[in-house]
């Protein structure tokens, strides 16, 4: 069989971001794969040490365009616990609202990218057209479609007026009807099934070996969700259920992400209906006593981990962030062998990689 190495190079129509994957192919079957990253490494951890705590929220938000709010939530929670600061109830609720809206738009973005990878451009267009509804909601709330600057250390900067609550609930209902189309697509569209069912299957012990997190882990039966296991912000007083599947293939991941979107819509509706009164933020001191703190947040792609250490000055001594895509990329390197070359695109897109997150 013809041995060949196919570079899915830093510039490739499948990838929105630079990532280099070399596939060793014999005939139409992949026999080996090497993933190397680092094209988007901007040394954010080093830059965080040169800025004050408040300035870092703007920097941390620009690690990744899709889950910017998750990053600021994790960072602010780490710094708030470092300062021993309790944020007001209303701020916790608004944080959850933005987190869930971001989860919905991230999953829809992923559905579009997967559809384009398997050549289903129509679904790419529909998914991204409906995603605009969510971006409108976020823009109306915080003024920004992608970088919202909603979080500040000590609370949130965004307030929701009663009319906005009404409008948002109405938009969420309209969005929910649109989601019915995608649910039906995932369940019944044969041409979607043919390219995703049983492809790139990941077993539960592979998930454990590579500490995989988020929807890909839950799609293989690993029932971990930080919103329920280690509730933060206002998740402890909200009702939602964690979606798991046990197929482990690209289709089960699509199923998990779609159901999660529905849970997120339910969560948003709960937050809007039970939004408590109160102010939005408590004042945060400029200098922080020496100490260290850890924060874990369930970002759209999985567990986002932040570690902040202070040395008494107004700048953090060390900020360490671990994004959920890193283990996913490592696991990808070991799940690619054995695939057909034509399925590689579906598996890479199915893994919902965010390279800007992974490289920091």
């Amino acid at each position: 069989m013809t041995e060949m190495t196919i570079p899915i190079g830093p510039q490739h129509p499948l990838l929105k971001e630079p990532l280099s994957i070399e596939l060793d192919v014999s005939g139409e079957r992949v026999v080996g794969g090497r993933v190397n990253i680092g094209y988007v490494h901007r040394g954010i951890e080093r830059l965080c040490q040169q800025r004050t705590y408040a300035q870092n929220t703007a920097l941390v938000e620009r690690i990744c365009g899709i889950c910017s709010h998750a990053h600021t939530t994790a960072y602010c929670q780490a710094v708030e616990s470092l300062m021993g600061l309790a944020i007001p109830e209303r701020a916790a609720y608004i944080r959850v609202l933005m987190c869930e809206l971001e989860r919905i738009h991230s999953h829809l973005l992923w559905l579009g990218v997967l559809a384009e990878a398997i050549g289903f451009t129509t679904i790419f267009m529909y998914a991204w057209r409906d995603r605009e509804m969510i971006l409108d909601m976020m823009e109306e709330l915080s003024g920004g479609r992608i970088a919202h600057a909603a979080n500040i250390v000590g609370g949130v900067r965004v307030d929701i007026s009663p009319e906005q609550v009404e409008l948002l609930l109405q938009r969420l209902r309209a969005f929910d009807e649109q989601m019915a189309f995608f649910r039906e697509l995932i369940d019944r569209d044969r041409s979607f099934h043919r390219r995703t069912l049983g492809i790139g299957r990941v077993s539960l012990d592979m998930v454990h070996a590579y500490s995989m997190v988020g929807p890909p882990a839950r799609a293989s039966g690993c029932d971990v969700d930080l919103r329920r296991d280690a509730p933060y912000a206002a998740y402890s007083s909200l009702a939602f259920d964690v979606i798991t599947a046990d197929g482990g293939d690209v289709w089960s991941r699509a199923q998990v992400r779609l159901q999660e979107t529905i849970q997120s819509v339910r969560l948003c509706q709960q937050v809007l209906q039970e939004l408590p009164e109160g102010d939005l933020a408590t004042r945060a001191p400029r200098r922080v006593a020496p100490g260290e703190a850890v924060a874990r947040v369930e970002s759209p792609r999985g567990e986002l981990f932040y570690y902040v250490r202070s040395d008494g000055s107004d700048r953090p001594a060390r900020v360490k962030m671990r994004t959920p895509t890193l283990p996913m990329l490592l696991a990808l390197q070991y799940t690619l062998p054995g695939l057909e070359t034509a399925d590689v695109a579906a598996v890479i897109a199915g893994a919902d990689l965010c390279i800007a997150c992974a490289d920091r």
């Binding site: 951890e45 080093r46 780490a78 616990s81 500490s211 280690a230 850890v294 874990r296 360490k320 490592l330």
Partner: protein, 143 residues
């Protein structure tokens, strides 16, 4: 995740009494482990508390040596703190126990210059291959 059982396991692994200190700031348990018994501690935890999730490995400068934190998840957050010093600072690699550590150790090696004995390929992960100069996180002045 019951702290006493973990304390007993780690105590056996490090053959010295070990104490889990809950962090004052958040629900995370820190424990200091001598670098020699790091592997034993990991195997103990994996064997008795079915540890499988290594969130990440954080390195930070502490005086002349380094502190390396292994953040684990056993239903709750647990961090093993290991002090490491020496001319070329080095630690035993854990990636034969937890394969995900392969990339975390490469990244710590990139940014802090800490060598991990027994690591399959300690090539740069995030920095370009032809990176010249000291590990970036140690450089004093901003470049």
């Amino acid at each position: 995740m019951d702290a006493t059982a973990i304390e007993r396991t780690l105590g056996q692994a490090c053959s010295a009494p070990v104490e889990l200190l809950p962090l004052a700031t958040c629900a995370e348990l820190f424990v200091d482990i001598p670098s020699a018994s790091l592997l034993a501690a990991m195997e103990g935890l994996m064997r008795e508390h079915d540890l499988y999730h290594l969130t990440t490995i954080t390195a930070l400068r502490d005086g002349d040596g380094f502190l390396v934190l292994y953040h684990l998840w056993l239903g709750g957050g647990l961090t093993l703190r290991v002090r490491c010093s020496g001319a070329p600072p080095s630690l035993p690699s854990v990636c034969h126990l937890l394969p995900v550590a392969e990339w975390y150790e490469r990244e710590v090696h990139d940014l802090f210059g800490i060598r991990f004995e027994g690591h399959p390929n300690l090539k740069p992960l995030l920095l370009p291959e032809d990176w010249v100069g000291p590990p970036p996180m140690l450089a004093e002045e901003t470049p």
